[in-house]
Every structure is written in structure tokens, then in C-alpha cells.
Amino acid sequence: MNCARARKLISLVIDGAAGEHQKRLLDFHLMGCPSCRRAFRMSSDIARLSHELPDPTPPSDLESAVRHMLAAESARTAPAKRLRTPLLAIPAVAALMVLVMTLSPLPGGDSGRGQELRTVASASVTSKVVAERTGSKSRVRTTPLSAYSRQASLISF
């Protein structure tokens, strides 16, 4: 397995979406590839840190802000380019909501680029928490079949 495929498997493993065979393949690759081992450690650390962040709270004026932006956007767009059905408007509304959530400061929080990153990370945490609560990830598993290794320490008797 090459490093490009290993990086894809790292994402799957971190997300808990990898099968046992894929985990074994990755384990074997990581044993012999320091670069991918570093990448795996970094991804694991990021995932762990993101779990420690609090859930984001949307600002109270989110809905009105989105409606405002939609109205402004509609007024600015030429009639020929307007969305023709309400169904087609749904993706645009969703995209704007994500944009607003991403750029809105958290209550009591500071502002700036650090805050933006924090909010994005929190949003991804929320989706993970929801996934776990809805049972989309198994919490019971069998011990994975891993590469054989044995430690040798000194024994006195």
C-alpha cells in the first residue's frame, strides 16, 4: 500500500468508518512508514482535541440574519438568475446558515481568526456527537486483530 492510500485510510480510521481489514492494512503500513505514523498521530490529536471543545450555540438572531441576507441577495440578483422554485432555494439557505454559523462569534467569546477556527471545529464536533447519540457508530467492538509483537523485559528470580 502506498502513502496516498494510507492517508485515505487514516481519515477513515479516525472517523471510525474503517473496516477491520482496512485497519490491518493501515497498521502494517504504519509499522514501516514514519511519515504516515506522524500523520496518523497528528490526525488522532486533532480528533481528540476537537472532542474537548464545547458545542457551539447559534446566535439568537441567526434566523433573522439569514432571512435578511436572502432578501438582500434576491434584490441584488437579476430576475433571470433567480431561483425558480422553493426547493432549489434549500441548498442556498443551508449554505448561508453554515456561513453565518461559521462567521458568528460565540457568546462571550473573543473574535478574530482563532475564534473562526474554533467555531468550525465545534461544528464538526456537534455532528460527531449527534452521530454517536443516534447510534450511527458502534460502541461495542471485538478486539482488532493487530500485528504480532512481544516485549522482552528483565525478570529476576
Binding site: E20, H21, R24, F28, R139, V140, R141, T142, T143, P144, L145, S146, A147, Y148, S149, R150, Q151, A152, S153, L154, I155, S156, F157
Partner: protein, 288 residues
């Protein structure tokens, strides 16, 4: 006649699946990992140390779910002995003193998500550290699975998979790894009966030594020998490597420690040092 006795002995041991039980370890809060525990006495089981002994552990039998009173761990052997303080296993047997040979058919009983799995495997060869490589399907639940020979004797636990460059099946083949009870049965016996462990010190510090060099054996490497100790008096010296005891290859210090305490007879050891082999007799512990 001998065949009949062997058949009766096999039947009396019970089915392999009767001696393997579901082990649940809460490796993280809310995260359960299922593995196997093999009953080696009515109140003791052996399991692969794939989880920390400090995490909540329970074993499920037809009579209920039981938590061990205590756990003895050997990081070197990679095993846990679970004590329950009461008879909870209807079927059990002590681990076998013999290792399977190449070509032996084996039954592997592991723990799948929906219950016990039983598959067939074949012993192919011995790895330099004493482990035995098996050809068998790689299935979920095989990590820590208990392995039984054709006479339903517990011959070890599955401890992982290994890719061997020069295997009998070709380069780069992967095998299931069986860590045979021949290496650890005496450790398990001592762990199950702590009263047996009271023995005068032998006077050595040793470690497992694995050799891939055909001119040098694997074995128990003596790192230091205390002057004036029993080991010193019988002629063992730092740098000696004990490669066999009573005609059987040995790989781990726990084997020597256990055999010295449990054996009633003198142990005949083969000691390798700087390319020369010599025989050293280790007397039994006299205080027992």
C-alpha cells in the same frame, strides 16, 4: 487400546467452545471491547492482555456475568489471569504442556460480535521466539482466541498476525500467531496458586532472547548471576543462554522460573555460551 484411551480423554475434556467465554472490557467509558477468556480452572481464566487490567472487566457465562476478584498480568507474556474467587466455569482445563507441531490441525475459538466463532487452522512452523504460525482465515474476533488441538487440549492463545518473508507458503505470507501454552502454562499455574510461588531465589536476572541466526539459538539469556547464589553454584554465569530444558526448547524466563518451582525432578538444561553448548543440572526446590 491406546486410541480408545485417547478418545475417552478427549471426550472427558469437553468441547473447546464450552471452555471459552465472552470477556467484556470497558476500555474507555461507554466503549466495550469483546474478547475471549479460556477457563483453566473452575475459578480462573486466561485472556490475552489486550486491555489494561485496571479497566472494568467482566466474563459472561451461561449462569451470568461475573467480575474477577483480582487479575495477575505478565506484560512479557502478554497475558492476564483472571481470578473469580468462586466456581463459575462448569468446563475448564489447565493449559497444555506441549506445543502443536507443524501440520497439526487446530480449532480456534474466538469472540465475534454476535457470539463465539470456531474455525479450523493448521500449525505451519515455529517462530524464533517460540510462537507458532498458523494458516487460518483472518476473522474479526480472532485476537485472543483460544486454540485447541485435536484432543481438545488448550494449546495457546492467538496473539496477532505476522508477515513472514521466508515462510513455507511463500514470501510475504501472513499468519495467525499462536503463543503456545507450552511457554506459559507454568506461569499460569503459579498465578492460579500463589502458595506455590514461595521459593528461595535462584539468583539470576534474565530475559527472552530471540535469534534469527542459525548458528545461535533462541532462549533465556542470563544477564546477571548473583555470586554465591544457587545459579552460581551450579555453574551458570552472566552471558549464558539456556536454550532447552529436559529436551524441549525454551524461550522465556518465566518458563525456567515456573519449572524450577513446579518440577519435582532435576531439570536438565542445555546452556549455550560463545558457540559452545554444555549441560547444567538445576536441582528441584527443596523447601516445597
Amino acid at each position: 487400546m491406546l486410541h480408545l484411551v485417547a478418545v475417552l480423554l478427549t471426550l472427558s475434556r469437553g468441547l473447546p467452545s464450552d471452555m471459552v467465554f465472552t470477556l467484556r472490557a470497558e476500555v474507555q467509558p461507554g466503549s466495550i471491547e469483546l474478547s475471549s477468556a479460556a477457563a483453566i480452572s473452575p475459578d480462573c481464566a486466561v485472556a490475552l492482555a489486550v486491555f489494561p487490567a485496571s479497566c472494568p472487566i467482566s466474563v459472561e457465562t451461561p449462569e451470568g456475568i461475573f467480575q474477577p476478584e483480582s487479575i495477575v498480568c505478565s506484560p512479557d507474556l502478554g497475558l492476564h489471569i483472571l481470578f473469580f474467587g468462586e466456581r463459575i466455569f462448569d468446563a475448564s482445563q489447565p493449559p497444555c504442556e506441549e506445543a502443536p507441531g507443524a501440520g497439526d490441525k487446530l480449532t480456534i475459538v474466538g469472540q465475534g460480535l454476535s457470539g463465539l466463532l470456531s474455525i479450523e487452522g493448521t500449525a505451519t512452523m515455529r517462530y524464533p521466539d517460540g510462537a507458532i504460525l498458523l494458516t487460518a482465515p483472518f476473522l474479526d474476533g480472532m485476537m485472543g482466541a483460544a486454540v485447541f488441538d485435536s484432543e481438545n487440549r488448550l494449546v495457546g492463545l492467538i496473539t496477532g498476525i505476522l508477515e513472514v518473508q521466508d515462510g513455507p507458503l511463500g514470501a510475504g505470507e501472513e499468519y495467525l500467531v499462536l503463543y503456545p501454552s507450552q511457554i506459559w502454562y507454568m506461569w499460569a499455574q503459579l498465578a492460579c496458586d500463589p502458595g506455590l510461588g514461595d521459593a528461595p531465589p535462584f539468583g539470576v536476572t534474565a530475559m527472552a532472547s530471540i535469534s534469527f541466526d542459525p548458528d545461535r539459538p533462541s532462549g533465556i539469556q542470563l544477564v546477571s548471576v548473583a555470586e554465591g547464589s544457587e545459579a552460581w553454584r551450579i555453574g551458570l554465569r552472566p552471558g549464558d543462554l539456556i536454550s532447552a530444558i529436559d529436551g524441549h526448547p525454551v524461550f522465556h524466563p518465566e518458563t525456567l522460573r515456573g519449572l524450577r518451582i513446579l518440577s519435582c525432578d532435576t531439570l536438565e538444561t542445555v546452556v549455550w555460551s560463545h558457540g559452545v553448548e554444555r549441560l547444567v543440572a538445576i536441582p528441584p526446590v527443596v523447601t516445597r
